[in-house]
Amino acid sequence: MIKTQELEINLGPQHPSTHGVFRMITKLDGETVTSVESKVGYLHRGMEKLAESRTYTQYIPYTDRLDYLASINNNLGYVQTVEKLMGVEVPERAEYLRIIFGELQRLASHMVAIGTGSLDLGGFTPFLYTFRDREKILDLFEMTIGGRMTMNMPRIGGIIEPPEEFWPALNKFLGEMPGSIEEYHGIITGNEIFQARTVGVGIISPELAEQIAVTGPNLRGSGIKWDLRKNAPYGIYDRFDFEVPVGVNGDCFDRYIVRVREMEESIKIIHQAVRDIPEGPTFAKVPKLIKPSVGEVYHRVENPRGELSFYIVSDGSTKPYRLRIRGGTFVNIQVLPYVAPGWKLADVIAILASLDIILPECDR
């Protein structure tokens, strides 16, 4: 036997495939990974501390900056938490608009996930196809609220009414979407090289997922049918008819395909919401200065990257006493040291891409 030396490699904080500033201390035996240690915190901005010096309304733009690829979902999670704390009833039309925008944002976020997933496996072109379609969604957002990435769109007690020209643009986009998804299937899903790189790679067993508290598409990829929109509905998700796609093996391919199928379900939900949306006001009557009574609340929402939840402790003032954010990525990322060893270096990148991490949400 030839005795070889283990090679220790720092993947990150500056590395093309770590999706921001994530660092993995990887030990290699040849090309095979023997251990991975993940280091986070390079993007820590003290979000929870910042909340203590901002009023409830002023904190909404900060939630944009958690998971910046799904900022409306974050906004919604936060404002719904505050509404739950205050007991505010949101008008019907606002609820429907929240569904439409939340699902549009989920589509955009999953597009980035599968596009960068393909990019991390070396396929550059699919990445730009997904971004082409994401651009259309961002245009819709820009038309409605004026922001593209950090929208700051919902308000406590309502949401901003989109302009007239939004509805035809939305219909046009929905009409184009099935063709685009067909294209992703053609260039990514059906590609034998992509399948060879992902099928059977990085299996997260259901037991491991439950131990770590993995959530979101990563959990469903492992075959557990758990989606808060279905199992513990918030907002008006209980009125919509959609499937919860699950994977079989819990490998990278399953996590990928769950995302693509979730996109199809999101389109279904948007279609239903556009069909059923009533006329009416989009703002509830809430005081200008939000001042919840003493108490605490915990609210969880299904974000594209796992369950996002806010825990707010209120002391009756205009500012939260303590605000805790539980991001999906922060918990999901713990799975890496369990899954990665034994695979090749390139597989670690594939696993990381399939976990679809986003560091601002992780480090906060």
């Binding site: 495939s17 070396g122 550059f124 072109t125 730009l128 060879a196 390139a346 670690v348």
Partner: protein
Amino acid sequence: MPQYGSGLFVSIAHLIRGLFGGTTVTADVVMTVINSLIIWALIALAALSLILLERKVAGWMQLRTGPNRLGPRGWFQTVADAMKLLGKEDIFPAAADKWVFGLAPMFVIGLSVMVMAVIPYGKGMVPVDLNVGIFYLLAVSALTTIPFFMAGWGSNNKFALLGGMRAVAQMISYEIPLVFSLLGVVMITQTFKMSAIVNAQSHVWFILLQPLGFVVYTIAATAETNRAPFDLVEGESELTAGAFTEYTGMRWALFFLGEYANLFIVSAVAATVFLGGWQGPFLPGWIWFAIKVLFMVFLFLWFRWTFPRLRVDQLMHFGWKVLLPLSVANILLTGVGIYIYQLIYPAIGG
């Protein structure tokens, strides 16, 4: 078939040769110098235009326009990039092995020049028409592994080392199917001489006689030039830039130049061996040759901008367990074919 202008460059060569007295030693020396200068110019030209072509094709496939700022439709972009790279600082990492690190890029480009000397660019346009042309070509291009490993080892960087190791493993494994895929053609033509192989295709191109050989060659050549889906040496998503991680400025540009020179070479070899070289109606031979090379180059670009990358062990599996048996099968089939052919037409072949 009439071909107009085929003899243009040959006549010029004759003219220059005539100036120095036809067949004297002086004339040979002058011609060698001129030929090597032309090859250098060709490498530079090929690299500049192929880089632009790659960026343009990539852009079009991705619904972009590609470079569009400098010159008409961005045609001077690579020239500007080359200028920029020339002006950049030449950094030697403190822990690098200075000699190995510094020499690696020179070797890459030197080997490319050596290979390009035996390619028939047109009728009578072979700078050095060796009677062991293909043999020489394969032998020299097999050496390209060494500069990659030198770069990987000399950089004293972990990513570069991994890239260098991948380069060795990959290029040596794919060298064998590459050689075997060309062997079928050699069996038919009974010669190693490049110009003779082209002449043998005056009636039928070898892509029709050797379709399997062509497919194996194309795949192995993709791997040999380290292009996607076999670009593990660079593998930017895991190894940042693989063997070239520590290179900057002109040294890095030489690697880049070498990469595109290699792309040109494998395309030229495919055009010569399988696509009939400079054979073709109406147009001058060298234009036909250019068209065929461009077609092959486009094929490689198309693969690169469509496929994701293979994993290192899958690459080895594919090379040894799929491509090698296929190329051996090709040789066997060719042998059987020749045997049957000789039974029918005993006069032909040896």
